[in-house]
């Protein structure tokens, strides 16, 4: 009976929307709240693409990013984003993102699985071996070099300052000097 009373035709006849073009034809779905309204948290962030540094608001629900949009408070961007910035939610939630370590052994033809812990351990071993193998304490004239020329690194412009800082600090301590990033490219 209740279902029957909700029949829009009855609402058409009884209400102000005789032609059934608005209120009478409306379904409860039209009033569903926006997903930014029922977010568990709204996190202030910064766009990861170019160096303009537009403010972003990241909406989270159940531990997942549900929306990323411009932060109107930012005096840099005033809430606006370009197409790349606007695609940030897809960037971070894309199913194409890798979630597992992949390993290719020397001369291997396929990727293999590898435990993250093992991978970091293996990399540490490689670093130390290459460091010893290519260590230069001094040059021919006896000038101090104190470096390992077998280790190089590229990247940093898309990372946080804190990450660059740890990279530079660790590499320098290890004697790796061929450390570069996009700023040179």
């Amino acid at each position: 009976m209740r279902e029957w009373l909700r029949w829009p035709v009855l609402r058409q006849l009884s209400g102000s929307d005789f032609l059934g073009r608005g209120r009478a034809a409306r379904s409860p779905s039209a009033d569903e709240p926006a997903r930014i309204e029922n977010a568990d948290s709204v996190v202030r962030s910064v766009c990861p693409y170019c160096a303009v540094g537009c403010g972003q608001r990241v909406f989270v629900r159940d531990g997942e990013v549900t929306q990323i949009e411009g932060d109107p408070d930012s005096p840099v961007s005033r809430g606006r984003l370009c197409p790349k910035g606007s695609a940030s939610r897809q960037l971070v939630t894309s199913p194409s993102r890798q979630t597992k370590v992949r390993y290719r052994r020397p001369h291997g033809t396929e990727w293999e699985d590898l435990d993250l812990d093992t991978a970091v351990d293996m990399i540490a071993d490689r670093v130390l071996a290459t460091r010893d193998e290519t260590w230069e304490q001094t040059d021919e004239q006896g000038s101090l070099l104190r470096r390992a020329m077998g280790i190089a690194s590229l990247g940093g412009a898309t990372l946080d300052n804190e990450e660059n800082y740890l990279m530079k600090k660790l590499y320098t301590a290890l004697g790796a000097i061929q450390v570069e990033n996009q700023a040179r490219i």
């Binding site: 948290s41 996190v43 962030s45 910064v46 990861p48 170019c50 160096a51 540094g53 997942e64 990013v65 932060d71 408070d73 930012s74 005096p75 961007s77 005033r78 370009c82 197409p83 695609a87 960037l91 971070v92 194409s96 993102r97 890798q98 597992k100 370590v101 992949r102 390993y103 033809t109 590898l114 991978a119 540490a124 490689r126 670093v127 290459t130 101090l144 104190r146 390992a148 020329m149 190089a152 590229l154 412009a157 898309t158 946080d160 300052n161 804190e162 800082y165 740890l166 530079k168 600090k169 660790l170 320098t172 301590a173 004697g175 000097i177 061929q178 450390v179 990033n181 996009q182 040179r184």
Partner: protein
């Protein structure tokens, strides 16, 4: 700017709304051109001629900002008698050593001074009394007297004061030198070189000068269209000269604005993952000149300006890194720093990979297999490694080159033969970690963490912290079996401060703790509030002196988010800009020598006579209490030696440099040279085709093409330039995998004019093949009138636009533009020339598989290319070091 920085472009539109005129100077008609009042389609690689023409226009008509120029620039300083200009030497400056492909720069100095470049390079010169220019090692020349590795940091230093002529009439004063030097750059010359009309040029010039002066300012915005050239630094220099002459530096609405392309590319320069720098632009020590802390820092200590406190900055850094282990007795562990012996930049590194010298490679959020010039050379390097670590979101080309790279397709390499061990580690995204990005305005902004990364995804902070922790554990564990020599070697690692707190199940290290370390702490362990507090006695620690203050008062200043509309137009309470939260550098120049604003309209920072201090809309970039009439004691050093009317406090004379007596390796003034590869003979200096000091690598996989009148240049008759699209990002790692971006620009294409299409039989939307001496790629053709042929001296020149976002992997795929480019570098900063080169274009798809190499080889044969092609007068370590046999027997790959 509308293309690559659309949201930043809103401010250009805002200015336009308020009456600003917008001129767009670009070889291509882009989305920016569409919004500009006027678009000037320059021939690629001719901006120095264009800007030089503007300098000429200003000087010839006496349209410069006189008081600004006399007081704030080095215009009155007298240049030494020994200096010879390009006017005198047919396109070369004095000091050129043809056999070394570089300059001895001492003849560029001021009269009465002994200008030398920088702390990082100086003491070798002091010791020997003679610059040891031209020495070549496998890593390029060590340019002892120029110090390009230091040039970004605020300029070289010189003791004493140069002779000066405030009337600007002395024939050897900088102003007069400048006038003579730019006399060639007439509107007619600009038209002839750049391919634009004199009328169009004059319109820009007139608009620029009338919009500069006390009441008005003009700004230049540029991007890698200026930097990625064999004369890139001199492009920026020309703009600097122009803006200084017009009084447009240090003032609101003025400046030369670098539009940088990555979220923290500024940060990764400030806290450099760059070979030649330590945090805060402190140079990495050189093997032969920096034997101890004293010799490294002392020369700076004797000079004027804020670099005079270099020792404080460095000692605080060493204390931050080695903590209590760094003491006065051990030079604060200065010897733990590895030493440089030349260019160790990324292109040199790739050569060393191919040569088997570099064995392990970390690639972190970059994609060199398609993103660096001469991409094939990059992949040959990757294929010759022992191990490779790639950290990224998706399976980028750098991670998969061994499986499906172009060399596998062409049969040049076989997967089974590639010995590189590859670790792909998935990275956490910006929403999955917290930390700071430094934007293109030097502003640090803290982004907070929203969610946890999935699976094995981790932040790079996590990776490097735990990698370091593991390495230290292993070294500690292996200590008994290590030799004494090895133990000594390990001390720099084991004594490193590496005790960051971790949190959560993933043991994520605290970025907040790292930022506090970067900011620095005083003897009491409390956060410092600014770099003026740094001491050289080991009592302070600071990971990056220019970032000192980002954690002032124990508050993360980069995380400040007071809404923009609730504060002044400078918005000082959003984020934090280095240094000291100053939003415009050298803003003391916004006031006249007496400290009054040049005009009410352009008031920004001024001297408050009642409060007796500097004040204004921004944090004054000046000693707050230093009065405009302050005259330093002649014996003063450091900041105290800067006058109250000298705004450029990082420069060793407090002045903006129109002329660069030291610090650059390719000339004290900019001069137009043709790109490494150009179909045009240099019209400005007919005897000097290319930048004589450019850095090149003549190697089998990196052949150069003939230029201008050289035989065979007609084989590659078309100019091309690479560019970015709004719809994609860099080499595509963050855009080609996203459907919402891929669908907007779904295929690799090239832009050609209808005239070129007619000349070569290219059809809209069909395929075309582009060929250089390196290789051939294919792309879809977009015929558009936005590309216009140039008419130069009655000759028609065609330019081709090539976006560089594509590669073989991802959702939208295509050949990479970087396959076409050779590696030829600016000698100051080792940045490659991607914005101007030559190629051939023909209809149809490129040859595939084994047919590709002979196809390209045939082009090289027709053009008569040998390993010497395009190498004259250049700095090329591989040439001098090479075997004669190899030289004679050109082995084309």
């Amino acid at each position: 700017m509308a293309e690559a920085h659309p949201v930043g472009f809103q401010w250009v539109m805002e200015a336009k709304r308020r009456g600003a005129k917008v001129f767009h100077v670009d070889p291509r008609f882009t989305r920016t051109s569409a919004m500009a009042d006027q678009h000037l389609a320059l021939r690629v690689g001719t901006d120095i001629a264009f800007l030089g023409g503007l300098v000429h226009y200003v000087l010839e008509r006496d349209r410069y900002f006189h008081d600004y120029v006399v007081n704030y620039t080095n215009a009155p300083f007298i240049v030494g008698e020994q200096f010879r200009d390009t006017e005198d030497l047919e396109g070369l400056f004095s000091g050129f050593d043809a056999s070394a492909g570089g300059y001895k720069t001492e003849s560029w100095q001021y009269e009465g001074t002994e200008a030398s470049p920088s702390a990082g390079r100086r003491d070798q010169w002091q010791k020997s009394g003679q610059p040891q220019e031209g020495e070549t090692s496998s890593h390029g020349r060590e340019r002892a007297s120029s110090g390009p590795e230091r040039a970004g940091s605020g300029g070289p230093v010189y003791p004493g004061s140069p002779e000066s002529d405030p009337t600007l009439t002395h024939p050897r004063c900088v102003f007069q030198v400048l006038k003579r030097h730019f006399a060639r750059y007439t509107p007619e010359m600009v038209a002839q070189v750049c391919g634009i009309s004199e009328e169009a040029f004059t319109e820009v010039a007139e608009a620029l000068v009338t919009n500069s002066g006390p009441e008005r300012t003009s700004a230049f915005a540029y991007s890698v269209g200026w930097t990625q050239h064999t004369v890139g630094v001199q492009y920026i220099r020309t703009a600097s000269i122009l803006q200084l002459l017009l009084g447009n530096i240090g003032r609101p609405g003025g400046g030369i604005l670098a539009l940088r392309g990555h979220a923290s590319i500024q940060g990764s320069t400030d806290i450099p993952t760059l070979f030649n720098l330590l945090p805060g632009y402190i140079p990495m020590p050189q093997a032969h000149t920096n034997e101890d802390l004293q010799s490294f820092a002392e020369a700076d200590g004797a000079t004027k300006g804020y670099w005079g406190n270099m020792r404080s900055y460095l000692v605080s850094l060493l204390k931050a890194w080695w903590g209590d282990n760094a003491t006065a007795d051990n030079d604060y562990c200065f010897d733990y720093l590895p030493r440089l012996t030349g260019d160790h930049g990324t292109y040199q590194t790739v050569v060393d990979q191919i040569e088997g010298l570099v064995k392990g490679y970390f690639v972190i959020g970059q994609n060199p297999a398609v993103g660096s010039s001469n991409a094939r050379q990059q992949r040959l390097g990757l294929a010759n490694l022992e191990w490779l670590v790639v950290r990224d979101f998706n399976m980028i080309e750098t991670a998969t080159f061994w499986k499906d790279g172009p060399e596998i397709e062409s049969g040049e390499l076989a997967t089974e033969d590639i010995g590189t061990e590859v670790f792909f580690l998935p990275a956490a995204a910006h929403t999955e970690k917290e930390g700071t990005f430094t934007n293109t305005q030097r502003m640090l902004q803290w982004h907070r963490k929203a969610v946890e990364p999935q699976g094995d995804q981790r932040s790079d902070l996590w990776f490097y912290y735990h990698l370091g922790r593991r390495i230290r554990e292993k070294l500690t564990g292996r200590r008994p079996e290590r030799t004494a020599e090895q133990r000594e070697r390990d001390r720099s690692v084991l004594e490193l401060t590496w005790d960051y707190p971790t949190e959560g199940p993933m043991a994520e290290p605290s970025p907040d703790a790292v930022l506090r370390e970067i900011n620095g702490t005083g003897p009491d362990g409390e956060s410092l509030s600014g770099y003026t507090q740094l001491a050289d006695d080991g009592s302070t620690r600071c990971g990056c002196w220019i970032y000192c203050g980002v954690y002032a008062d124990g508050v993360n200043q980069a995380d400040r988010r007071k809404p923009g509309n609730e504060q002044s137009w400078v918005a000082p309470e959003w984020g934090w800009a280095w240094p000291m939260n100053r939003r415009i550098l050298y803003n003391r120049a916004s006031a006249d020598p007496d400290g009054r604003p040049w005009s009410e309209r352009k008031a920004y920072v001024w001297w408050d006579t009642e409060q007796e201090q500097w004040t204004g809309h921004d944090v004054p970039d000046f000693d707050k209490k230093k009065a405009p009439d302050y005259e330093p004691d002649p014996a003063a050093t450091g900041p105290e030696a800067i006058k109250g009317a000298e705004p450029f406090i990082m420069q060793s004379d407090g002045r903006g440099w129109l002329y660069v007596p030291a610090g650059l390796v390719d000339g004290p003034l900019p001069a137009h040279y043709e790109p490494q590869e150009s179909p045009v003979s240099n019209p400005v200096y007919p005897n000097q085709q290319r930048n004589p000091a450019r850095q090149i690598f003549a190697r089998p996989e990196n052949r150069y093409q003939p230029s201008g009148a050289e035989r065979g240049s007609e084989v590659f008759p078309y100019l091309f330039t690479t560019f970015r699209l709004t719809e994609h990002h860099t080499a595509g790692g963050m855009s080609r995998w996203l459907s919402h971006l891929s669908e907007l620009a779904p295929a690799m294409f090239v832009e050609v004019s209808p005239e070129l299409a007619a000349e070569r039989g290219l059809r809209h939307l069909d395929w075309a093949t582009l060929v250089t001496a390196r290789t051939a790629i294919e792309a879809r053709v977009l015929v558009t009138e936005r590309m216009q042929p140039l008419r130069l001296d009655g000759r028609t020149l065609h330019q081709i636009g090539i976006p560089w976002h594509w590669g073989p992997n991802g959702m939208t795929t295509g050949d990479a533009a970087n396959e076409l480019l050779g590696v030829a570098l600016d000698p100051n900063v080792h940045i490659m020339e991607t914005k101007a080169s030559t190629c051939d274009i023909r209809p149809g798809r490129r040859p595939r598989g084994v047919e590709l190499a002979p196809f390209v080889a045939e082009y090289r044969r027709r053009a008569g290319i040998t390993e010497l092609t395009g190498t004259e007068h250049a700095d090329d370590p591989s040439l001098t070091g090479r075997d004669e046999r190899e030289r004679g027997n050109e082995n084309e790959r």
